[in-house]
Symmetry: C2
Subunit: 344 residues, 2 copies
DNA sequence: CTGAAAGCGCTTACAG
DNA sequence: CTGAAAGCGCTTACAG
């Protein structure tokens, strides 16, 4: 692969001059510039980003450590992060922690070894030593979605309290009184907050959230399945199950179906995190939607601000309730579409 | 951040010795080793991967350029790629082309600038000049899922012909005779192959695939919606729509529902690519499943083999038909589960 | 405007 | 077993 020396030789200038034209430094003669550009073109030269990074001490790369890529919520978040980063001239390297603290640590370490300019993380647990260390040492960092209390790092997240209140009001109006929740891991902020918000909202209606109605999940489908089975085995099963994320809702759907029961007739279901598939499930799932794209964008902007020496603003965006059919809502007016039906 | 010099100073040895213990070079005295290790621990030293890469001319990083991260098939592929790469001591940087040739080119360029050791790509189109160039120049490379004919690069993919034949047999047995397909972009191998396989399989039953029954999609949901609307507008609409990927199937589901019609009563639906959500859609979708995990693993192994100077073996794994309910299949025996039903 | 030179943080022959 | 030194491919004061 051609190096800057080759370009210099071919253009008949020094490597310093080549570097200058490549970096748009003003003091280069027009003549030198054209010769260099010609050589670059002829050689198909591309600067070695590794060498440049070593020299400039910046990689123009952001790290993103998320809990689970297979979760559509995080997939969308990752996509939005990459988009915004690209717009700002950064690349992003994604580390998938798979809800495993050890993997999270592995990725944080690898990313730091590569000297990324900044780190975006949605912590899986209370935070690995490596990560805490990085935060303390001043590595530009921001938390997205989940965060670690007590660590002085901006956090970009969505506030689900209002939407959870709306959900509970909705369920109450539908006549449901025994409401259960499949919680996320207590080690995560979102795991705890969603339970708290739910309990608080129930309280406003004089409803309690007994321990038997709090199932401990881990944000993965399997745990939703397991917890739901437990709920169904209760002498007095809940009328509604609220899954704290979309994957656990999927698992709940499985469990209900496996028993030959139906949602919402036998038991209602609602989920935190909305995804395109919820429109197409049987039945369509009532869910709380986060402004995922905006979250990703805001997180990148906050991080880049930190990278460039700014304070990096925390932001909290409201989530909202999306009502569909999984809680016993009345059927929507079946549009008597004036459409030709296919031959029977 | 501590550098190798700091470690050397603290341990009272030269940087060469530090480097040797870090790289497990045999000729280091036990004494030197322990002093170095102690210094490393005390300083929290971590080698700068950028500097190491510049020196060794290897980054231990693989690039993966995929067409669309939001497509669950590619998400799973990416995940499996990262897993296998990690097991082999490599990191992976993912570039999301979003089915856009210009974005694909951007990522290939960026990845190459970063001097990744090898490139895994699922080309969005006929191949950008940059990519073709890299292939020719000898950058270790392998195609996954999609490939570019005529480019001498190993390809790891799944062969859907058998499964498509099984699908057509299945549809034929169900009494369907007018079968249509929502094709992927003609610029992609998978876009073309799936149509060919479908046509061939139909031929075996003396069935034709008229042009009106070939809708041009682009692997995204919207195109599935649009094409399906076109099918429904036909004087003689098809009895079955086969979507060449899962996202277009989603779009088709939308379109059918938007007209107040039902799958499979009004029109049947099948999809290429199986995903967890298809179990939960209304109705569950009959699909062709690729061995995605294995594909990812095989692709990484082939690429790492190339990186290490090997030939990099092409592999083709068979896909298989997964029958569910979207084609008018008889209802499964409703398991009269011996399970307590929830109150009411 | 231009070039020689130093230096980023490592690794690795080469001598000893 | 150990260290001094060269060099990976760049960028950037410093002189001119």
């Amino acid at each position: 692969m051609a190096s800057i020396k080759d370009v210099a030789a071919r253009a008949g200038v020094s490597v310093a001059t080549v570097s200058r034209v490549l970096n748009d430094h003003p003091s280069v003669s027009a003549d030198a510039r054209t010769r260099v550009l010609a050589a670059v073109g002829a050689l198909g030269y591309r600067p070695n980003a590794v060498a440049r990074s070593l020299r400039t001490d910046q990689t123009r790369t952001l790290g993103l450590v998320i809990s689970d890529v297979m979760n559509p919520y995080f997939t969308e978040l990752a996509r939005s992060v990459e988009e915004e980063a690209r717009a700002l001239g950064y690349s992003v390297i994604i580390g998938n922690a798979d809800e495993r603290p050890d993997l999270q640590d592995h990725h944080v370490t690898t990313l730091l070894d590569r000297r990324i300019d900044g780190l975006l993380v949605s912590p899986t647990d209370g935070g690995s030593p490596r990560m805490l260390d990085a935060a303390r040492t001043g590595t530009p960092m921001v938390f997205v979605d989940r965060w670690i209390p007590g660590v002085d790092v901006p956090v970009v997240r969505s506030d689900g309290r209002g939407a959870v209140r709306d959900l509970v009001a909705h369920l109450h109006a539908l006549g449901h009184r025994r409401l259960a929740i499949i919680a996320g891991p207590a080690a995560t902020t979102t795991g705890r907050e969603r339970v708290d918000a739910f309990r608080e909202a129930l309280g406003a209606y004089g409803l309690a959230l007994p321990d038997a109605y709090i199932g401990q999940g881990d944000f993965q489908a399997d745990s939703g399945r397991r917890v739901t089975e437990g709920f169904l085995d209760l002498t007095e099963p809940p009328e509604v199950v609220f899954a704290a994320d979309n994957l656990m809702a999927l698992g709940a759907l499985d469990a209900v179906r496996a028993r030959g029961l139906r949602v919402p007739d036998d038991i209602a279901l609602a989920a935190f995190d909305d995804i395109p598939w919820f429109v197409h499930t049987d039945p369509p799932v009532t869910a709380i939607a986060q402004p995922t794209r905006e979250l990703g964008r805001a997180a990148v902007r906050a991080l880049v601000d930190r990278v460039e020496g700014g304070p990096g603003e925390s932001v909290s965006l409201p989530a909202r309730l999306v009502v569909r059919r999984s809680c016993g809502e009345p059927a929507p007016p079946q549009s008597p579409s004036p459409v030709r039906r296919s031959t029977s």
